[in-house]
């Protein structure tokens, strides 16, 4: 990656290429690990940095996530969930391990960032995690075609109605409704396919 921001490569994201990468990862394709890192590395790193106080610890957790994922790739079933969802599940375990190791070393509750759902001893390692859902959805939103992404951003974050979006963007109302429909359905599918 030569750019500082993780921006989708034109035409390379979308249902077909997501599923293709997931399938190739599961079967151990030589290039798939690097591609998974390029595609989802930012997402995993972002999750680890949100959950751990130190950037070095977060980078280590990111590294361990991809190493573990590769070593256990036969356990990833593309039929049952998405590759980013599975990766974040592993990342969550790594974050928990790091926090517990720090507790043992320091004898103190490790200072963690805000999303302490993963840090509390009673948190299940496998239950739903709002942070994971949020990051997966953000990743899905990032990878929508730009028109759908922009339309939904206006609807989600600026609370514009579809006629207002048409006015602001200059697009026909019918086109706006189409972007909303296709984009929201795609986001719903990505959220619902999250690996357990």
């Amino acid at each position: 990656m030569t750019t500082a921001l993780l921006t989708p490569m034109a035409g390379s994201f979308g249902p077909v290429s997501d599923a293709d990468l997931a399938a190739r990862f599961a079967t151990g394709d030589d290039q798939a690990l690097r591609e998974a890192f390029d595609t989802y590395g930012g997402l995993v790193q972002h999750f680890c940095r949100r959950s751990l106080a130190g950037a070095a610890e977060a980078d280590d957790a990111t590294q361990q996530t991809f190493v573990s994922a590769w070593r256990t790739r036969e356990r990833f079933d593309p039929e049952r969930g998405s590759l980013p969802g599975w990766l974040l599940g592993i990342a969550r375990h790594k974050v928990i391990d790091t926090l517990r190791a720090a507790e043992r070393r320091n004898g103190l509750t490790h200072r963690a960032r805000q999303e302490v759902a993963v840090a509390t001893p009673r948190a299940t390692a496998t239950g739903p995690d709002p942070l994971v859902d949020r990051l997966l959805l953000a990743d899905a939103l990032r990878s929508l075609p730009p028109d759908q992404r922009r339309t939904l951003e206006l609807a989600f974050f600026d609370d514009l109605t579809h006629p207002q979006i048409a006015q602001v963007t200059g697009l026909p109302v019918g086109t706006v409704k189409s972007h909303i429909r296709r984009g929201l359905l795609r986001l719903r599918d990505r959220l619902e396919e999250t690996a357990p």
Binding site: R34, F37, Q45, K94, I96, R100, L137, E192
Partner: protein, 242 residues
């Protein structure tokens, strides 16, 4: 009855009020209400996203270098092991592992993580320090719960492959059940059975190809009822960690 189309449901999920006719349909139609609920959940999650975080930085290339280096070690380590013929740079994994997907109850992952805190204190004294070589390093197995059971485990190399040498003390004889030995990794839900353990008898248990103290660092001895269920019973008596 015609159901509401996706566009109508999507707009309703975003909070735009439906027409009177559409609202009336929703009142009477469970299927459309369920579809709407799924979309509303998606919108709810989306609205928790911080828009300024939508573009996340890519990790540094050095993170990739570290990943590639660690994965390459696996390839080197397993190059001399029998493979299925495909040359891969990753770990040669488990034709020898349990064939059917065994899914122990989810809480075992949490229990394993919680117990590590207890076991780590005991194992710390037997822990001779981080070493990249697993062969020869001995770990202590500590009792889970009450009891005087204890044990030791270490990897030994034999002509026909690696084995886990296990000694135990204080395990009571069982009726209609066996002690079973496992190498596990709760992070990846990996539970590999190494066979049964006889109390008080030292045993060398062959380790299946592809299983190492890096991939499955926890050693566990469980009580397995003779019920025909090969999955881990979740009742552990001894556990240690490489």
């Amino acid at each position: 009855m015609t159901h509401l189309d996706d566009t109508t449901l999507a707009l309703a999920a975003l909070g735009e009020p439906p027409t009177a006719d559409d609202a009336a349909h929703l009142d009477t139609c469970v299927a459309c209400r369920e579809e709407l609920a799924r979309l509303q959940h998606t919108v709810d999650v989306a609205r928790t996203v911080d828009p300024t975080e939508l573009d996340v930085p890519a990790p540094a290339e050095s993170v990739w270098d570290a990943i590639a280096a660690e994965v390459a070690e696996d390839g080197i380590a397993t190059a001399s092991e029998p493979s299925d013929g495909a040359a891969r740079d990753g770990v040669v994994r488990l034709a020898a592992r349990r064939p059917a997907p065994m899914r122990p109850p989810r809480w075992l992952s949490l229990a394993a993580a919680a117990v590590v805190i207890v076991v780590a204190l005991g194992a710390a004294f037997a822990f001779l320090g981080r070493s990249d070589s697993s062969s020869g390093r001995e770990i202590a197995l500590a009792a889970i719960g009450d009891g005087d059971a204890a044990g030791r485990a270490k990897v030994v190399d034999r002509d026909d492959g690696s084995a886990l040498r296990v000694d135990t003390t204080g395990l009571a004889p069982l009726a209609d059940a066996d002690y079973e030995l496992w190498m596990m990794n709760p992070d990846t839900d990996s539970f590999v059975s190494l066979g049964t353990v006889q109390p008080g008898v030292r045993g060398d248990h062959p380790i299946p190809a592809g299983v190492t103290v890096k991939t499955d660092p926890y050693v566990d001895i469980s009580v397995e009822p003779r019920d025909g269920d090969p999955a881990h019973s979740t009742v552990s008596v001894l556990r240690g960690h490489f």
